[in-house]
Amino acid sequence: MTSSKTIDVIKEDLWKNNPVTVQILGICSTLAVTNIFLNTLIMGLGLTFVTAFSALTISLMRNIIPARVRMMVQTLIIASFVVIVDIVLKAQVPNISKALGPYVGLIITNCIIMGRLEAFASSNKPAIAFLDGVMSGIGYMYVLLVIAFFRELLGFGTILGIPIMDPLMRSMGFADGWTQWAFMIMAPGGFFMLAIFIWISNNISMVKKS
């Protein structure tokens, strides 16, 4: 794994070809879980784990997988890692597992994972494929965390469940405290924040290019 290829993978996955802001993949979960910061963090970590280890497994087996069943093999491997994540969450952090509900299982349907396996892991060596999986997961996770930060802050007035806006507003002399923006908690709030994020990131990219 050459250092220039490593840097390229990191740059591509985190910024230039970010799965959420550039490829517009994984949007379902982006809208669904980003109203609560902690759920988003666990979802992001779960997806990173699944993407990285699925990529590693596919890359290790890339020379022996028959071409006509490669999609079936990829789905089988992704589903296995998702089930592992689900079992570990249920056994070790049952509270968070309960809070995430059906979204852990839905990692299987996240297009980012299948996309990276098909586009990268199936034609690259294990180490770089694993790195690509980790970076794709982080690229997805940081976008979601930024969105979740603002949605939870404005929607609930909290971050990680800790009240922020209400004490802040009261300390500034607003006796009624913080009025929660219900819009931010709902799915349209997710669309709104995602659009703002894509708009800002595209502008930064354009400025850099010019």
Binding site: N35, P66, L76, S80, K90, P94, T158, I162, I185, M186
Partner: protein
């Protein structure tokens, strides 16, 4: 042909390999997951009965906190549960069955009732499982009413698959707190066409401060909250009728239940 056989064999071997790994992980964590679920259920039931750890003041919990935010030692949960909560299975008569249209109990001939006893051995509250329809799926809850059936003691939502941040907020203490001391007189003397419990957009006082038959709704979760309300108005009335009609069975069996080490008659928790 050779290629075809290789493809089939490859898929079969790979599937068996991954299934074996999953089976091993599942088997090694099965007990722990079952224990977590049981503790969660005990904790929910205790919460609904308003039995909380000594150092927890419900009023001081953040409005978004859930039962998971209440730290409670597993041993204490089990100890409190076995000491204070007892269970009995009551028969459902054909007349009572008529009240059960569209209910999850509609095909059952008996029902499990939990009750809390005080230090004198008297029953102070009755608890029972509730089931209703949410936006995305079934909502399973545990509701508790006072022994005179006039007030609700509490509720906890054990299972739900509602939208996180919207309907799923039914599990937060802000919503559940309005069930404490909820007025249930509507189940005793209401005309049948009016709901006994209603939902309002905004309540200035909790039912502990001023007991009413209303709960505060959640913004953006109309269908979930409507499901909860429908569940209460159908199931609570039924349970109150069944318990009232079978009070003689409970009184007759009470000494026997109290003498049992785990305090259950006719079945086990969660069955």
């Amino acid at each position: 042909m050779k290629k075809f056989l290789f493809t089939i064999s490859f898929m079969v071997i790979l599937t068996i390999f991954f299934i074996s790994i999953l089976a091993f992980i599942n088997e090694s964590s099965k007990e722990r997951i079952a224990n977590n679920l049981e503790m969660q259920r005990y904790k929910s039931i205790l919460y609904a009965f308003n039995i909380l750890p000594d150092n927890v003041d419900e009023n001081r919990l953040p409005s978004t906190s859930t039962i998971n935010d209440i730290f409670w030692d597993e041993e204490k949960i089990e100890e409190n549960f076995k000491k204070q909560i007892k269970k009995i299975r009551l028969p459902i008569t054909p007349d009572q069955q008529k009240l059960l249209k569209n209910s999850f109990l509609s095909w059952k001939d008996s029902v499990d009732i939990f009750f809390q006893i005080n230090k004198k051995g008297e029953i102070v509250a009755y608890g029972f499982p509730l089931k209703g329809k949410g936006l995305w799926g079934t909502i399973t809850a545990f509701g508790v009413v006072s022994a005179d059936f006039k007030k609700m003691v509490g509720i906890d939502f054990i299972e739900q698959v509602e939208t996180p941040g919207l309907g799923a907020r039914i599990i937060e203490s802000e919503f559940k707190y309005f069930f404490r001391n909820l007025d249930l007189s509507g189940f005793q003397d209401k005309p049948r066409n009016l709901p006994a419990v209603i939902m309002v957009t905004k309540k200035n006082k909790t039912n502990i401060e001023q007991s009413t038959n209303s709960l505060q709704a959640i913004t953006g979760a109309t269908q979930t909250v409507s499901g909860v309300l429908a569940m209460l108005n159908s199931d609570l009335g039924f349970y109150i009728t069944v318990i009232r009609d079978n009070e003689h069975i409970i009184t007759y069996n009470l000494p026997k239940v109290l003498n049992l080490r785990d305090g259950y008659i006719g079945g086990y928790i969660g069955d």
